[in-house]
Symmetry: C2
Subunit: 210 residues, 2 copies
Amino acid sequence: MDDILKKLDSEKRNRIINSAIEEFSLYPYNKASTNNIVKKAGISKGLLFHYFGSKKELYEYLCGFVVKKLFNEINDSLNWDESDIFERIKEIALAKLKMSHTYPKLFDFVISLFKNESNSLNVSDAISLYEKYGINVQEIFVKFYSYNIDYTLFKDQENINVKIDIIRWTLEKFAEEKSFPMMEANVKFDYEKMLVLMDDYLNVLKKAFY
Amino acid sequence: MDDILKKLDSEKRNRIINSAIEEFSLYPYNKASTNNIVKKAGISKGLLFHYFGSKKELYEYLCGFVVKKLFNEINDSLNWDESDIFERIKEIALAKLKMSHTYPKLFDFVISLFKNESNSLNVSDAISLYEKYGINVQEIFVKFYSYNIDYTLFKDQENINVKIDIIRWTLEKFAEEKSFPMMEANVKFDYEKMLVLMDDYLNVLKKAFY
DNA sequence: ATTCTTTCAGACCAAACTGGTCAATCTCAC
DNA sequence: GTGAGATTGACCAGTTTGGTCTGAAAGAAT
């Protein structure tokens, strides 16, 4: 299927992908509508099925695309020499933000993949799909958050995992509550302002833990 | 409509309500199916429409019920003499947990009300609905998190709001990531164990901020 | 035992929507 | 113009939708 997809104009392909990602992140597999997808993408019904064959194939293509994109993007944009966990987590948060600028709903979709065990294709299908693409999610997450990190920077070695959870959660909730509203308002969105706001939170935690 | 609802056997009414809450928290208004609701509740189609008239009326009843229930429950279970923000936030988290034991999906539903602007009934409808029930969400939240709270307990008065966000977010993420899995596993779920785990996080933050 | 009333079931309905097809167009290099 | 590939959208049969309605069941009262 990939070969025939190559021929598709890339701008149009991205339109379809984004539309499909949005639909599938909004609704579980069997409630997601191919009619909505083509409508949102501004293409005809026939075109979608010409390139993707069936709803299921589209969904599976999307899973692969999305997971590869997410992990590669983060993986490439991280500075692996950085040993400060605060900087690492900040870089991860920024990479997510940057990506959600070109693929707005990509992250929502990935999250929905891990949540809706019941309504997406069944779990074992999903997992073997990740295996098919050679991606071990668990392992990659551990790498993101711990590779080359210097834990001796913490002033107190007790409960390190608790502290890391707190830092990670703070950044995640910050992204949810504070930055998403900003992103919807204006298309070109203000990284600088975002960073300043984010640093308020990081500095408080740094002062507390380092 | 309330008068006719009174006549309905309360056990059966709760079955219907829980079933409807689950369906509406799983899917936005127009994808939620009354067929699923009656199936899950183990009643006939006719009964649902006999008591609730239409899908829309059911949905609106549910909104009122859920919001009232949520805020009243938290409101009543809080110790308003408590001036320690950590204790306050902990009490709120516990009240939520306790409630989701009798109305498992109630909280999910409330959250979906605030998220899915696009697909539930439109926002202004929803807001006027809260106004209809005499509930100002914003105001109540402020009260929950700040009434009678003693901010001088913080060792450093700077960035207090940032710190409160961090405490609140930590408890919320804790509930998402750590306690929901526990609750699904066994019906009777272990408050004691939950508290001990939760205290790990609270103590780290307390040591940092107080 | 009979009648009356209320509670409930589920077959039924038209309308909308589903994933998918396909003959007909449209586009564009030659 | 001609041929080939890209694209359309009316169309299909099947399912699902919110909602209705007839009448069975269950009491209650006589």
